[in-house]
Amino acid sequence: MTTTAFPPLSAAARRRRIGGVVRRDLAALRRSPVRIFEIVFWPTVELVVWGFVTVYLRAGDVPFIVSTLLGAVLLWQILHRASNEVSMGFLEDIWSRNLLNMHVTPLTAAEYLSGLVVFSLTKVVFSVAVMGTLAYVLYGFGILTVGVALVPFMAVLLVLGWALAIAAISCVLRFGEGAQVIAWSLVFVFQPIAGVFYPVSVLPSGLQVVASFVPATHVFQGMRDVLAGSPIPWDRMAAAAALDVVYVALALALYTVTLRHARAKGRLSRFGE
């Protein structure tokens, strides 16, 4: 009866199912000019605003300020996009009343999340490429001046963004559609704490302790160090990577628990109503 399908637990079937999620989202992106516009619009607005701020500050002869602020804007977009695009993929399943269709396929939770993550990666790469080009053309700031450190910086932020998205999705599963505002805003909770645009030393001492447990803190401080001419702070990057592992583990555990809860309480069914 199902000889036309790969054995459901085979690697080929898993790849095919993850590919199904990615292809679906890519097709949705292609068919929705608003979403393509959005990829370019918000990052560009941020870049232009902060760009002019830095031009103003440069006139005041503040050292490194141009590169650190523009670098922060670019790296922040990686975290923001990584988080929002995964959440968006999930919310679109809710908005189109398609979530139950997804949950009655053989797709596992891990495969579903992997599909969303892979798709978000393509959008983040595109978004950063647009912003990087604009930063260079408009303000002469080349993101590649950060050097090889860009790789661990981006990796840590991507993984953190995905972890936050999975946590946000879990909140929507737990509390229903009304909680979707969490999907947009959770990442912004970390913006003031992580010292995106300023060193965490300006924070109150209690918040500095909190900040040390946020992976992004180490990335943004690391970026400022590198742009100031210091070597790549690998110890910081190692700490950030370790924290990322903890964040992802917690997010996945939260997702597992909330999905089980949603099935037990019949909440999953209500997403189809």
Binding site: P8, R16, R24, R97, G266
Partner: protein
């Protein structure tokens, strides 16, 4: 009310076996002591008034709702422990579900063909497109389709993996009588040809009489009677299934 238990198709393999399912949502008992089997090649109906527990039962059989107690075995496998293997051979369509509106019909079907791990998605999509006469709609966005056309796309999605068990929650609710009639014929034909099993809920009693080999009648979260349409009418002392429905609903 007295429950009757018609035997499942003797000698046929039970595709679906649910034993003593129960589900409560807070103080509300949605489903209680529901046991049912669906045999290979059988089209079974699940009937009952609104709030009888039909959809909750179907959702438990699909793994969307976890039963408080009871056991579900599909193809001889425990649903909870073998979810991926089971769902690979099951499909579902319901009048209340949607599909990604911005996608074209061909993109929706291609995505779901992949979600079911099909080896040759394009070939299978072409088959279901022909079966449900979706050719002219292939390049149209789902959001631009009428509700009847969307139902046909949902059904095409539900047939993509040649399911051994097809679960349909009011499959023809959005269709006009002509389209509904053609879809019923198609579904019966598909079930007979593939030898798979179907479990259907519907409020269209003629549809149920025409399609179903056996009907499980639910009320107040329980299956109160099981049998053919004629057997149920006889049991309740009325002329047909519609009168059975009215009698149960008004009691």
């Amino acid at each position: 009310m007295r429950a009757v238990r018609a035997p499942a198709h003797p000698g046929r393999v039970a595709i679906l076996q649910a034993d003593l399912l129960a589900k409560r949502f807070g103080p509300v008992t949605a489903v209680e002591e529901v046991s049912l089997t669906v045999a290979e090649g059988e089209i079974a109906g699940l009937l009952g008034p609104n709030g009888a527990g039909k959809s909750t039962t179907l959702h438990m059989l699909l793994g969307l709702v976890t039963p408080d107690s009871g056991r579900i075995r599909i193809f001889g496998l425990d649903l909870e422990r073998h979810r991926t293997e089971v769902l690979n051979q099951v499909n579902f369509s319901a009048s209340y579900l949607g599909l990604p509106g911005v996608l074209q019909v061909r993109e929706v079907l291609d995505a779901f063909a992949r979600l079911y791990g099909l080896r040759r998605p394009a070939g299978r999509v072409a088959e279901v497109v022909e079966l449900l006469e979706l050719g002219p709609l292939l390049r149209r966005k789902v959001i631009d389709l009428s509700s009847g056309q969307q139902t046909r796309v949902q059904l095409a999605k539900a047939l993509l993996n040649r399911p051994r068990l097809l679960i349909l929650d009011e499959p023809t609710a959005a269709l006009d009588p002509d389209a509904g009639d053609r879809i019923r014929s198609l579904l019966v034909g598909v079930a007979r040809e593939w030898g798979g099993a179907m479990l259907i809920t519907s409020h269209n009693m003629r549809e149920v009489e025409r399609m179903c080999d056996r009907i499980h009648f639910m009320s107040g979260g329980r299956i109160i009677a099981t049998g053919t349409a004629a057997e149920l009418a006889g049991l309740f002392g009325v002329a047909d299934l519609e009168e059975v429905f009215l009698k149960v609903a008004r009691q």
